[in-house]
């Protein structure tokens, strides 16, 4: 078991200042071979994505007849594929912008809600002493495996039929229309995100030093106060990384969106639109590549710019497991 607190561990990410002893040791070990090999592997890891990116800018007939690496000997680039995917064909141009907004509207609350609820639950499971909490935690953990597909029908009927028990209506149907369908999508994403979110945050919160909590209790702080003023600030990195995880998941999701958003222009996210554009065109590599890249560019940007927090949060949560 390590002796550093998770928070301290978090701050050592991505920096190897030779100030500390360990830094000196590491510096000595920096070898030319290790550098070369790891860079080569990193490049190798990127080649498939790069090939896709490059291909998406090549003219249709070239994509279909020659490999993307021939680009370096005969460079031809075009924006036609993106034009087709983004603006082409059906209906008015610029439609993708509409879907883009939908994705955004879906994603933000779908990230906020599960994180807040999971943080509260993870705190209770770690630091509030009540009977059966370990079993509760195990059940929540095990729920991670419930296949999403199996939850679609019951959840959908929860919205469309409400809840009734033995003929008594406990909750009426929601009757959501048009933009209100976003509520369903948020609700569904929140449900499905909770088991993993609680698992991750529990790993982290339960590792916080007990002395901190004790000291606060002696000072007369209640659980709510401890949660707000001690736990929340300490787990910010974990929350950030969870937020990024959840963002990637919601943004890339197709199944939940298909069922709960209704598929129309008003509420369907980008993924639904792109699946429509690219889904049935087996051999149409020019559209597939451009479509795929459009779908990954946003998560990629978010991910690359927030990567630091992601890593920090994850590692602090798991260092002590």
């Amino acid at each position: 078991m390590t002796t550093t607190t998770p928070v301290l561990a978090g701050e050592t990410v991505d920096e190897a200042p030779p100030r500390t002893a360990v830094g000196r040791v590491r510096k000595k070990l920096t070898s030319r071979t290790a550098t070369t090999v790891s860079i080569v592997i990193a490049l190798l890891w990127t080649v498939p994505t790069f090939g896709l990116l490059l291909s998406s800018f090549r003219p249709e007939d070239e994509i279909k007849t020659t490999g993307w690496w021939t680009f370096f000997t005969s460079p031809h680039l075009t924006l036609q594929n993106y034009d087709d995917v983004l603006f082409g064909r059906s209906s008015s141009s610029g439609q993708l912008a509409l879907y883009f907004i939908n994705s955004l509207v879906i994603t933000i609350p779908s990230v906020l809600f599960p994180i807040a609820f999971a943080a509260l639950a993870a705190y209770a499971l770690s630091w509030i002493n009540f009977r059966g909490r370990d079993w509760l935690y195990i059940v929540v953990f095990a729920l991670q495996i419930v296949p999403l597909q199996m939850a679609l029908v019951p959840l959908l009927s929860f919205f469309s039929r409400g809840v009734s028990l033995g003929g008594v209506t406990l909750m009426p149907a929601w009757d959501l229309d048009q933009e209100q369908k976003f509520i369903q999508v948020w609700f569904a994403h929140t449900c499905f995100a909770l088991p993993f979110a609680i698992f991750l945050l529990h790993n982290f919160i339960s590792q916080l030093p007990g002395e901190l909590m004790e000291a606060a209790r002696v000072d007369g702080a209640g659980h709510s106060k401890i949660f707000r003023s001690i736990v929340l600030p300490l787990i910010t990195p974990a929350l950030a990384s969870l937020a990024i995880f959840q963002f990637l998941w919601v943004w890339n999701d197709l199944l939940v969106a298909l069922i709960f958003s209704g598929g129309g222009r008003q509420t369907a996210p980008l993924t639904v639109r792109l699946a429509d554009l690219a889904g049935t065109r087996g051999g149409e590599w020019q559209r597939l590549t451009a479509g795929a890249f459009v779908s990954i560019v946003i998560p990629l940007i978010v991910f690359l710019s927030l990567q630091r927090y992601f890593v920090r949060g994850l590692l602090t949560g798991s260092v002590k497991g």
């Binding site: 002796t3 050592t12 509260l120 009977r131 370990d134 199996m150 048009q178 779908s295 590692l315």
Partner: protein
């Protein structure tokens, strides 16, 4: 593109965020106010008791402790109520429904007992699916974790660390469908003319004849597993690399002074120190692997003997409307996770004891 098109959506978003603030803020407020209120009442009661010494001895320590534990329980429940409600509606009820459905026939009208479970082990096709799933669930965590670990150890001594790490971690941001398309392109085959797939191009360059990589088992399943490893290795690398960096300097220094070889250092110092992180990585990747279906669906659609349980479950329940068989496969998937759950229980016990 008019603003009017966006306005109702942005209003919804605003409502969503307001709802978030109200719900979470309100909950915290409630958790703050209610216990305080009770605390004050208790204080008042205590004072009252002190003022009336006659029955002051009666409400002694033991009952109050019981009360306190109960109050903790209530409070814990209050903290968990939103999560529990959502889990109940979104996952527990569906899970129970799935178990019930698995005992009925395709359209859920006739009780068939355990026939659907028998079916899993009767058809050659489904047995193939089980074998493939087993291959996935063994190979993906193993390969992804070891690649990630080796890379983490190596990167620890290399320059350009953060750039290299970002590149390895990049696939994590790509959806399974996106990754499927990327790799389908790598494996692409052309019977005539130039190859457009990277793998076939390399293969031809070294003197082979072009191959239809995704057609022949068991190679095709391995090639699909490569995709999952490609995605997950970054995840394990980042966590393990961070764990390695968190190994206390004095331990490393001491081992160094003892003159251990890098090999011994890895087995005796590094590995034991990062064991907890390793567990998290393996558990997370295993669960993700059991649920994977997008990759197979995008790349082969489960043809050529590459099918896995998660995809077959989707097909049975949705495409074929054989709800009973689909549900039985879902329950089977759940059973596959039980070892991990038991493992997690033991971990939790040990952790609580410390």
């Amino acid at each position: 593109m008019e603003f009017q098109d966006f306005a109702p959506k942005l209003t919804m978003l605003l409502y969503g965020v307001i709802a978030f603030v109200v719900v979470v803020g309100g909950l915290l407020l409630l958790l703050d106010v209610v216990p305080n209120f009770f605390a004050r009442r208790r204080e008042a009661a205590l004072i009252a008791a002190a003022e009336a010494p006659a029955d002051g001895a009666a409400p002694g320590a033991p009952p109050r402790r019981g009360l306190r534990r109960k109050r903790e329980g209530l409070l814990g429940l209050a903290f968990m109520i939103p999560a529990l409600l959502l889990l109940l509606i979104g996952l527990v009820i569906p899970a129970i429904r799935t178990i019930i459905l698995s005992l009925f026939n395709g359209n859920g009208e006739k009780f068939v007992g355990l026939r659907n479970y028998g079916w899993i082990f009767q058809e050659n096709d489904i047995i193939r699916v089980l074998i493939n799933t087993l291959a996935w669930v063994i190979l993906v965590p193993l390969l992804a974790t070891s690649v990630g670990l080796l890379y983490a150890v190596m990167i620890d001594r290399a320059r350009f660390e953060s750039v290299a790490k970002s590149l390895i971690f990049l696939p994590m941001a790509i959806s399974f469908v996106g990754a499927g398309i990327i790799w389908k392109f790598v494996y692409a085959y052309r019977g005539e003319g130039d190859q457009i797939g990277l793998l076939n191009w390399l293969w031809v360059t070294v003197g082979g004849t072009p191959q239809q990589w995704l057609l022949d088992p068991p190679l095709n399943t391995l090639l699909l597993i490569v995709v999952m490893v490609w995605i997950q290795a970054g995840f394990s690398m980042v966590i393990l690399s961070a764990a390695i960096k968190a190994i206390p300097a004095d331990i490393v220094e001491a081992a160094r002074l003892d003159g251990v070889t890098p090999w011994q250092m890895f087995w005796r110092v590094t590995l034991p120190s990062i064991r907890p992180s390793l567990i998290v990585v393996v558990v997370t990747i295993t669960i993700a692997t059991l649920k994977v279906f997008d990759i197979v669906r995008t790349m082969t659609n489960g043809n050529y003997d590459t099918n896995v349980v998660a995809l077959e479950m989707y097909n049975q329940a949705f495409r074929y409307q054989e709800n009973g068989q689909g549900s039985a496969l879902a329950v089977f998937l759940f059973i596959l996770v039980i070892p991990i759950v038991i493992f997690q229980i033991r971990n939790l016990r040990r952790q609580r004891e410390v």
